[in-house]
């Protein structure tokens, strides 16, 4: 599903599933998924929030296992195309130090009709949080911590959906 023809030389050269270390420009990903049969585009951005559970975040630091993260994001894109035929997807996640309001992740989904675009987009962020090897460290005034829910080793690997 990567590198399909979609009407523009510029678009072909874009990497639709990527880890970046510079600010995320949303327009680029919206442009990538848009095509003449798309009637709806839904874009999600996850932004650095100042307050979480009453604690003030100074900034975040993201780290990724880059090649595996890009592979897993592309797999999520393939899952979406199988579940919602006709959607087109681009996902980017930023790593490094992010300040308040910076975009950590962008998910752009186009679809002939809007319902699939909303559903597929929400599916994508849920899956990213489950399987993509990216880690977030919160840095507060009085400390810092790597975030991540504790969970046992899966008996059958990470669930395939």
């Amino acid at each position: 599903m990567i590198g399909f023809w979609n009407g523009s030389e510029r678009k072909i050269k874009m990497k639709p599933f990527e880890i970046v270390d510079t600010p995320i420009e949303v327009q680029k990903y919206m442009d990538y998924v848009l095509h003449p049969s798309a009637g709806a585009v839904v874009v999600f951005t996850g932004n650095v929030r100042e307050w979480t559970h009453g604690v003030k975040t100074l900034y975040l630091s993201y780290e990724a296992y880059v090649p595996m993260a890009e592979k897993k994001m592309a797999e999520i894109g393939a899952e979406m195309e199988a579940k919602w035929p006709g959607v087109r997807v681009a996902i980017a996640h930023r790593i490094g130090e992010l300040q308040i309001s910076d975009i950590a992740v962008v998910i752009a989904v186009s679809s002939p009709h809007r319902k699939a675009a909303y559903e597929a987009n929400e599916y994508a962020i849920d899956r990213i949080k489950e399987v993509v090897p990216i880690w977030k460290k919160e840095i507060w005034e009085d400390g810092e911590e790597w975030i991540g829910a504790q969970k046992k080793y899966p008996e059958k690997g990470v669930e395939q959906k």
Binding site: Y65, V105, V131, P133, K136, G148, Q150, K152, Y153
Partner: protein
């Protein structure tokens, strides 16, 4: 030779991003046991292993030349 990568909490705990184990083969479970013994506080119960960029089961066998990664709970997004 088996290469292993460390990320996030584990990179800070071990003080390294990667290292190489002089083994011909071992299971994922054995790799986790080795890490727990080598690095107190590793917390292998909550760490998954990826072999060649794919999540592996505990009984999977790692061979010389494979690239492994310890994957603590992810928190992207």
């Amino acid at each position: 030779m088996i290469k292993v990568n460390y990320f996030a909490r584990l990179r800070e705990l071990t003080g390294k991003g990667e290292e190489t184990l002089d083994r011909d083969s071992m299971t994922v479970a054995e790799l986790l046991d080795w890490a727990e013994e080598s690095y107190p506080g590793f917390g292998a119960d909550n760490v998954q292993v990826a072999v060649n960029e794919e999540y592996a089961l505990k009984e999977d066998v790692i061979h010389s030349g494979d690239v492994c990664a310890f994957i603590p709970p992810v928190s992207g997004g």
